[in-house]
């Protein structure tokens, strides 16, 4: 095995995911299959190759720093309507400071 269930659990926690023991065993197996497969990239000599992040050259276009979208009350309501829990015009979350 390339990874242990504990390592998978750790990386899952970093990604804010949790798994049951049974799921973890299966996921570890899948990690192993997939990581073994992608190891074939090691066959290629890439020391002098530049990495590609975007296939089409993209720059970061700038615009003037002005407000372009002042939301109407209806738009704010539409956004807040998707909140799983809200109070007035705020999102509600569990207490984070004791």
């Amino acid at each position: 095995m390339r990874v242990t269930p504990d390592e998978v659990r750790q990386v899952a926690a970093l990604a804010r995911l949790s798994f049951t023991e049974e799921e973890l065993a299966e996921l570890t197996q899948h990690f192993d299959t997939i990581l073994t497969y992608v190891d074939k990239l090691g066959e290629l000599q890439t020391d002098s190759v530049e990495p590609t992040a975007h296939a089409v050259a993209v720059s970061a276009p700038l615009r003037d720093d002005v407000v372009t979208n002042t939301p109407s009350a209806a738009q704010t309501d539409a956004l807040l309507a998707n909140a799983p829990s809200r109070k007035a015009r705020f999102f509600r979350v569990p207490k984070i400071i004791e």
Binding site: V3, V8, V11, A12, A13, L14, A15, R16, L17, S18, F19, E23, L27, H30, F31, T33, I34, Y37, V38, K40, L41, G42, L44, T46, V49, E50, P51, T52, A53, H54, A55, V56, V58, A60, P61, R63, Q75, A78, L79, A81, N82, A83, P84, S85, F91, V93, P94, K95, I96
Partner: protein, 486 residues
């Protein structure tokens, strides 16, 4: 012919001649959905009332006498990762089951401005992650040609709906083949435009350096018409490219004379279904007969594309999907004690297993100690794959390959082993890594009556030449007259 079977360009003519009304057309499509969708599950949301209201508005425009906008009164379906204001957008996920889009995606806005009727939101793999549609958190969409088989993924609902005449056309998204594969499996036309050609604003992100919105249509002319509407620069998507669009539908009939078509040896592999190879080779011979020159080319890094893709896509997915935290929108787990548990439980309950697998693997390849070995390595191989294509395009104007090594497979057949499923995309994935346009055109059927797809790949921003070739091919065949047995 029943109204629901009309292509965009046929419907355009009949609407403008006032032979049919937009309301009649929309009603015919709604009835067709009602009659067939219990078997297909193409739709996650049908916008009956909104669609009929939009059709009434289209009828008023058509009655005006002035030239109507290009898609006036035409029913179009949207993959459920594309936002339409006021309509639910689930991305095929439980975590967004109740999410109502507060605004239109740029492509939706462009469709509306062109007069289109948004008929509904179609099924897909959860967050567009999948090759079969079986990862839909709701119910898998079925292939109209054989409902025991998958429609392909992830835009399975888009392709199935168009094949089954449940929409005149649809939009999908393609990150590693997600428009072209379902188009091939369902016998319709699908285009993945050049990265940056179409805005991604208002589209639920999967892997942002690969995602692209594109048309799924009944024929190549419709594909060009739809691309004309959605393509173009959008200041709200910083990766959208500011180069003019040539007017795709206007150049369809220019023919193939003098065009060089490259055939990569790496795309005709052992183990592919013999009928697929035969159909694709016949299609290539047909293009040659129309005046194209066939040249042999090589794309030597083809065998590394799937591995490269999955590392990059999973890394980008793990980053993109961090936003689903149960705070501002989407599902939130109940009865959790603190914020950490809120995140973990919400995501554990809200995401399906394939999505969690990709997020976890993405976090792994990005983590300290593995970043160079996996993520950086994949980005470097991505460069090699892209260079393969750019070199090949010095010797040819486009490349012809199969879309997939097989026709549509059965539900459940590849579910147990994720890697087997990933290999369905073996012929489509490199195109996304290189940011190129790719067109899928029906080119025959296998012995079970399942459609086969021909893929045409072009240099960046050369959609026009692909559509021209696809159109020339399509005119010489009558595959389109065959309809799925529904």
């Amino acid at each position: 012919m029943s109204h629901h079977a009309l292509t965009i360009h046929q419907a355009q003519q009949k609407l403008r001649a006032r032979e049919i009304s937009a309301v009649e057309l929309t009603q015919a499509v709604l009835t067709r959905i009602q009659e067939t969708d219990e078997r297909l599950h193409s739709y996650l949301t049908v916008c009956t009332e909104e669609a009929l209201a939009q059709a009434e508005a289209a009828d008023r425009t058509l009655a005006n006498g002035a030239t109507p906008p290009p898609l006036c009164g035409i029913p179009v379906a949207l993959k459920d990762v594309i936002l339409a204001q006021g309509v639910r957008a689930t991305a095929g996920s439980k975590i967004l089951e109740q999410f109502i889009a507060p605004y239109d995606a740029t492509v939706t806005q462009r469709l509306k401005e062109a007069g289109a009727v948004i008929i509904g939101k179609v099924n897909c793999d959860e967050f567009a992650m999948g090759s079969s549609n079986e990862n839909s958190a709701f119910t898998p969409c079925r292939n109209p040609w054989d409902t025991d088989r998958v429609p392909g993924g992830s835009s399975g609902g888009s392709a199935a709906a168009v094949a089954a005449d449940q929409a005149c056309a649809a939009l999908g998204t393609d990150t590693g083949g997600s428009i072209r594969l379902p188009a091939a499996f369902c016998g319709v036309v699908g285009l993945k435009p050049t990265y940056g050609r179409v805005s991604r604003f208002g589209v639920v992100a999967y892997a942002s350096s690969l995602d692209q919105v594109g048309p799924c249509t009944k024929d190549v002319r419709d594909c060009a018409l739809l691309l004309d509407v959605i393509a173009g620069h959008d200041p709200r998507d910083s990766t959208s490219v500011n180069t003019p669009t040539p007017g795709y539908a206007a150049h369809l009939e220019q023919g193939l004379s003098g065009l060089r078509i490259g055939i990569p040896q790496e795309y005709f592999i052992e183990g592919m279904q013999p009928e697929v190879e035969t159909a694709v080779r016949e299609a290539i011979a047909h293009l040659q007969g129309l005046g194209a020159e066939i040249v042999s080319i090589s794309l030597p890094h083809t065998e590394y594309a799937v591995a490269t893709y999955y590392i990059i896509a999973m890394a980008e997915a793990s980053s993109n999907l961090a936003r689903y935290d149960g705070v501002r929108y989407g599902y939130r787990a109940s009865e959790v004690e603190d914020l950490g548990a809120l995140y973990q439980t919400t995501r554990a309950q809200g995401f399906g297993s394939e999505v969690k697998r990709r997020i976890a693997l993405g976090a792994y390849v990005l983590s300290a100690g593995y970043y160079d070995a996996y993520y950086l390595k994949a980005q470097k191989v991505r460069t090699l794959i892209r260079q393969d294509f750019l070199r090949a395009f010095e010797a040819c104007d486009m490349i012809a390959t199969p879309v997939a090594p097989t026709t549509a497979f059965r539900l459940g057949e590849k579910l147990a082993d994720p890697l087997t499923m990933y290999l369905s995309d073996i012929f489509t994935i490199a195109v996304n890594l290189a940011g190129l346009p790719g067109l899928s055109v029906p080119c025959g059927f296998d012995q079970h009556g399942l459609p086969v797809g021909l893929q045409l790949i072009g240099p960046p921003f050369e959609e026009e030449v692909l559509l021209r070739a696809g159109y020339a091919y399509e005119r010489g065949h009558d595959w389109r007259t065959r309809k799925p047995p529904l």
